[in-house]
Symmetry: C2
Subunit: 486 residues, 2 copies
């Protein structure tokens, strides 16, 4: 979102970012002003809850039942954020300043509830910037049809083409999703009903979003129905380009024909167990490629010479280097889009959240291989990496995917800016809001109409039947009377 | 489509247009080559069938039952086109030349079947250029959800917000639509099964369309679900701009503060009954505005001086003139988009086809008034025209609509060119094709899965019930045995 904010600032817009004084990610910048408000929890609390999300990843394979554990952890994490939002909304001084601030819109990720509530309180439109929401709340709130017959449910492991058993599973998972939705968003619902209207749910609140900027792209996601107020800006992060630092440049330039491998499991995993790290080190030692590894643990003494460990990697710029051969990643969408933009095949270790689904899609597209982080061995690593490097089909397929991904009428950053400015210019995008929002579940699916028509049909049938029987009886009686007479 | 072809030609593409030797609309041009093939009917046959479509319009108000009459006339018209297509497909010389022509794609309006069949025979992708197809075949073929609870059915007279009785009507009309579809496309189906595969329907054939360029825009149409392979190019015809001819320019420039009115009922209506024309002449005589009228009949001797009759009007350029006050139109989409682009409110006389639905939408948006051509009088005309000119809300609303319509990330002509070239570059757009095409009706709606789950549920319930009853009986027996003993 920072990229979009920066671009908006360059086009003359003033941006104010509201930051809790214990914040995970937001730092000050030249592109925007910040307004820091106090919250009741510390950065350590937040980090603690955040780390919970990735607990136990290296120990055992993920199970179906982990869904409920992960939901609980997610609720733990977001409940702190709800507290933070409460602090903001109860901060009378700040709120009255915001009320007279003359803002045109709220730009927010509806993964957290505060932006949407603020937009509603200030009576200004909201533009959403997101990949998607847990349990598909974005689809539901925006009235976007999502037929379970070919849209794979989260965590189902399905692709868009399913056998009968897979469709049964998909249907059941969709049911679980609805149940999970209620748990995940219950404290959001409470927050909304405390600060806005008594009976409003979070889903209802976000249904007012003017434009949904989805970090989504159909080269990588399975195609499915969409809505007129959805704009697709998947790969927007590829716009962030910079020259490589001299030290890194020298390392990768010198990697020869064998090229190099980029390895990071993202910012959410801080430390990898020593035993797991050892498997990686041993595998890398046997490869002719050089390796750049985002590694925050203590480096071993005998680390192979072809491996460079760093606390942070200029990921996109590294993948853009022509000698980049493989990207080892956990399958977060940021990394995936950078890999697609730069056409680098992947070796993937999905950790949690939507990552497993992402990885499934890329493996199905033939541009990645998948391994488990909990049982990774040097052999498995070597087989997978050598396969990706030697078998040309991985590279060919991702080159094709990349070409299609980059071939768009408007580049994602520009598209995001356009729609944000559009909403400012026209005070919303009401012409793109479907009337389905005014219908309840029964009306939407025409169940009342179907019931009514069936009632008429049965009445007509019943009356016809009664008439027939009446006539039949009359005839019979006459017949028997005749016979008696005879 | 001519605009798109011209633009493609300017960007270096070679375009070949296949023209039956009896053609309604296609003339040669510098922008494309033509290949004329002989057909079994004459231009007079074609004109005759075409005129049938508008027969009786001036005599009586349209009825619900006209649907069936109009469907029959439409089938009469398209059956000639099917004959024409047959002539092309059986023309071995031409077909073998086309086969080795090295074409990249077929650009066609699927309203007529020949383009899609040709694309399939030549194994090249098809790009569709259309508004929409009769009875919503485009939506059905492209697997685009269209919930009857808020997407008004054709000819229903509904808007996107419906009462219960309106929803009942909408549902019934959707049912009629499915029936009508079978009649309209039956000779297309036959043609397809004769020339392609035995059991292929026309709907199935057009489902392979790579990109659907819809002359559609949500400022004017009700928003509804869409698909990733649909691009919206409504208003593409506004790109056709030219300076006004001197004679016309003088006439409209001299219209003073009162401005002028543009009046045309489109190219499909050749002659208006004298009595109807008289009502218009009398009304115009009493107006301070000047009137430009596309009039092909014999001009009366006492035509008012403020009226200029012409065989053809530069419609878009006239509407772009700042003094244009009202556009009197039949409600074809071409004219409507030109009116929206140039923000001129409308007085509408829907004649046939989708025009009545178009008019309903614009009236609901408050940018137009509606009158019937069969019972128009001077008084009605004067009231409506004075109302549109005096009541500022019509102008204000269409100015707002126009601003939103024109405010797009990519202008429609450019977007159409982009997607056409995209399909050429990537030999299709398979990444945007949903997997729903592989499912039958039962699978799509998960009816098999629901049936299976219900079966399991009932089995479990039945077994549980039997077990309970068994236990209950055992207990009872013991109880009664005890009692007997006692």
């Amino acid at each position: 979102m920072k990229l979009l904010v920066k671009e908006l600032n360059q086009r003359g817009h003033e941006v104010l970012v509201l930051v809790p004084d214990s914040s995970l990610l937001i730092h000050s910048s030249e592109s925007f002003k910040t307004e820091v408000y106090p919250v009741s929890f510390t950065k350590a609390d937040l980090d603690g809850r955040f780390e919970q999300l990735t607990e136990g990843l290296f120990l055992k394979p993920p199970q179906m039942t982990d869904i409920f554990l992960n939901v609980q952890r997610l609720v733990n994490f977001t409940s702190l954020q709800v507290e933070g939002c409460e602090s903001l909304l109860n901060n009378q001084t700040l709120m009255s300043r915001l009320r007279v601030g003359g803002f045109d819109l709220v730009l927010t990720d509806p993964f957290l509830p505060c932006g949407s509530i603020l937009a509603h309180l200030l009576s200004i439109p909201a533009v959403y910037f997101l990949r998607e929401l847990p349990c598909g709340l974005d689809t539901k709130a925006n009235q976007c049809p999502s037929p379970p017959s070919y849209v794979p449910a989260a965590f189902s492991g399905n692709t868009n083409i399913m056998t009968f058993p897979q469709r049964v599973k998909n249907m059941l998972m969709s049911g679980v999703e609805s149940y999970v939705c209620r748990i995940i968003y219950s404290n959001f619902d409470d927050l909304v009903s405390r600060h806005l209207e008594e009976k409003m749910t979070y889903k209802e609140l976000i249904s007012y979003g003017a434009i949904w900027l989805h970090r989504y792209d159909f080269t990588f996601e399975w195609p499915k129905p969409i809505m007129p107020n959805m704009a697709f800006i998947g790969g927007i992060n590829c716009a962030k380009k910079a020259p490589l630092p001299a030290e890194i440049k020298e390392f990768v330039d010198g990697s020869g024909d064998d090229g190099f491998i980029v390895f990071t499991l993202g910012s959410m995993v801080s430390n990898m167990p020593e035993e797991t790290a050892k498997q990686f080190f041993e595998a890398f030692r046997q490869l002719p490629q050089r390796v750049l590894w985002r590694y925050t643990g203590v480096p071993p003494k005998d680390a192979p010479k072809n491996v460079k460990l760093m606390k942070w990697l200029p990921q996109n710029d590294l993948l853009a280097h022509p000698k980049a051969k493989v990207f080892i990643t956990h399958g977060g969408t940021h990394g995936i889009y950078e890999s697609i933009c730069n056409a680098v095949p992947m070796l993937m270790f999905p950790l949690f959240g939507d990552q497993s689904d992402n990885v499934n899609r890329l493996v199905a597209h033939g541009v990645a291989e998948r391994l488990g982080i909990y049982d990774v061995t040097t052999e498995k690593l070597l087989t997978a990496l050598k396969n990706i490097i030697r078998d040309k089909s991985y590279k060919e397929k991702i080159v094709k995917m990349s070409e299609i991904h980059l071939d768009r009428p408007v580049q994602p950053l520009e598209l995001a800016v356009f729609w944000t400015e559009f909403v400012m210019r026209h005070k919303g995008a009401s012409h793109l809001r479907v009337a389905a929002h005014e219908l309840n579940w029964i009306q939407y699916h025409c169940l009342d109409v179907i019931g009514f028509l069936l009632m008429i049909l049965f009445t007509v049938l019943w009356v016809t039947l009664k008439c027939c029987m009446f006539c039949f009886r009359k005839c019979c009686r006459r017949e028997s009377a005749k016979k008696k007479k005879q």
